[in-house]
Amino acid sequence: MEDYSYSVPRPVIDYNAEACGNAVLCLKCVKACMDTGHNLIGFMNTNDPPVGENAPKRLEDIHHMIIFSGMINCPGCGKCIDACPKKALTLVMPEPREHASKLQRSDIVFCVTNRDGSVTIPRS
C-alpha cells in the first residue's frame, strides 16, 4: 500500500457552504445535475437533527448541505454552476497526469509456483 499513490482523476466541485445557506430551500443544482442524466449531486443534513421536543417538524427546518458523490461519472459540463443563484459552486477540473500503467505498482511481479515447487518469474 505504500506506493499506492495513484488516484483516478475526476472533476471536483468546490462547495461554499456559507454562500449556499440551507440547501434544501433551493436544490437548483441537484435538479440541474439530474436533468443532465448524471445525478451526482445530493443533499444531506449538516448535523444530526435534535431529538425530543426540539425535533424539527418539517424537512425545511433542518439545515442541509450539498454533497457530491461518484464524481468519476462527472463530465464537467458545469450545468450545476450555472444553475446556482448564489455562486456557491466552483468547478475544478483535474490536472492532466501520467497513466496508471506508468505510476502504479511497478514493484509487483506476478510469479507462478510450479507443481514441483519451483518458481517461474516471468520478467526479471
Binding site: 500500500m1 475526476r10 441537484v30 435538479k31 449531486i41 425535533a55 454533497i67 458523490s69
Partner: protein, 278 residues
C-alpha cells in the same frame, strides 16, 4: 451460505432465524445504539454521508478489491438481496405493525419521493418518534405488508433485508428496502465500486429453461429490462436468453416478467463455483 448464515443462521438463513428479530436483541448493549441510529434521526447522516464520502474513500477505482478488503470488517450495517418468497417469510416473522417510510436514497438525490422502506416494529417506533418531519409515513398491517411485497415484485423493485450491526449475540434485522440499482446507495456501492459488504448477493441464482424461453417473447425479452445487475445475455440468433450466474444476485424479479415461466430460482449452493461468491 456466507459468514452471516454460518454464524447467525442457526441452521437456516440469517434473516429467517427468529432469534434475529427478538426484542431483547434490539435492546441489547452494542445493538441498541446502532438500531437507534439507523432507525432514528441520525439515519441520513450515516447513509447519505457515506455516499458523500465515496470520492474520498475510493481514490483509485481500478483497484476496488483493496477497498473491499478494508471494508470487509465494516460490520455496523449491511444487507442482502432476498427474493419474494423469502420476503414474505420475513413479513411473517416480524411483529405488527410495519411502518412504510420514504426512501432516503431517492429523496436526497433529487428523485421523486416514494414510500419504499418497510421498518419492522421496534425499530419503526424509534423512526416515528425521532423523525417527526416525515409526515407521509404509513402504518401497515401484516396483510398489507404482504400485498406491498407482491406489488414491489410486480413493478420491479428489489427486495433487500438490512441488519444493524454484527455482535456475538446476533444480527438484528431492522428494515426491508425496495429499490433499484439506479437509485439505491448501497447497490451503487456494490455494483459500481465492488464493495461486497454494502449489499450481499441473495441465497439464490436464476436459471432459464431455453426451450421455454424460445417460445416466449422472442425479439423483445421482457425480463431483461428488469435485471438490475446486468446478469442477462440475449442471443439474437437463437432468440433465447442466458443468465450469467456469476453476475446474478438472485433477486428473482425477472421471473415475474416471463410469460412462459421459463425462469426459476435455484439454490446458490448448487453451483460449486459460487460457494464464496456473495
Amino acid at each position: 451460505m456466507c459468514k452471516y448464515c454460518a454464524e447467525y443462521g442457526n441452521g437456516t438463513k440469517w434473516y429467517l432465524n427468529p432469534q434475529n428479530y427478538r426484542d431483547e436483541l434490539y435492546r441489547a448493549e452494542g445493538h441498541e445504539n446502532t438500531v437507534r441510529m439507523l432507525g432514528g434521526a441520525q439515519k441520513n447522516t450515516f447513509e447519505v454521508g457515506a455516499m458523500g464520502q465515496v470520492d474520498i474513500m475510493i481514490p483509485d477505482t481500478n483497484y476496488s478489491d483493496i477497498l473491499s478488503m478494508a471494508l470487509e470488517n465494516m460490520t455496523a450495517h449491511g444487507g442482502q438481496i432476498v427474493p419474494l418468497e423469502d420476503a414474505l417469510k420475513i413479513i411473517d416473522l416480524c411483529q405488527e405493525p410495519f411502518v412504510l417510510m420514504h426512501c432516503a436514497c431517492r429523496r436526497y438525490f433529487g428523485r421523486s419521493d416514494v414510500l419504499r422502506c418497510l421498518f419492522f416494529w421496534p425499530v419503526a417506533n424509534t423512526a416515528i418518534k425521532e423523525r417527526p418531519w416525515e409526515k407521509d409515513t404509513r402504518l401497515l398491517t401484516r396483510e398489507e405488508a404482504r400485498e406491498f411485497e407482491r406489488e414491489c415484485d410486480r413493478t420491479g423493485f428489489l427486495h433487500s433485508i438490512w441488519h444493524a450491526g454484527v455482535n456475538s449475540d446476533g444480527i438484528p434485522a431492522i428494515v426491508m428496502c425496495h429499490c433499484t440499482s439506479t437509485d439505491c446507495i448501497p447497490t451503487k456501492f456494490r455494483v459500481s465500486y465492488g464493495i461486497m459488504n454494502s449489499q450481499r448477493k441473495g441465497e439464490y441464482v436464476c436459471s432459464v429453461d431455453p426451450n421455454e424461453c424460445k417460445r416466449g417473447c422472442k425479439d423483445v425479452p421482457l425480463c431483461m429490462k428488469r435485471c438490475n445487475f446486468g446478469a442477462m445475455r440475449y442471443n439474437p440468433v437463437d432468440r433465447v436468453l442466458y443468465i450469467d450466474p456469476q453476475a446474478c444476485f438472485g433477486c428473482g424479479l425477472c421471473r415475474a416478467a416471463c410469460p412462459k415461466g421459463a425462469i426459476r430460482l435455484m439454490d446458490r449452493s448448487e453451483f460449486p463455483a459460487l460457494v464464496d461468491n456473495w
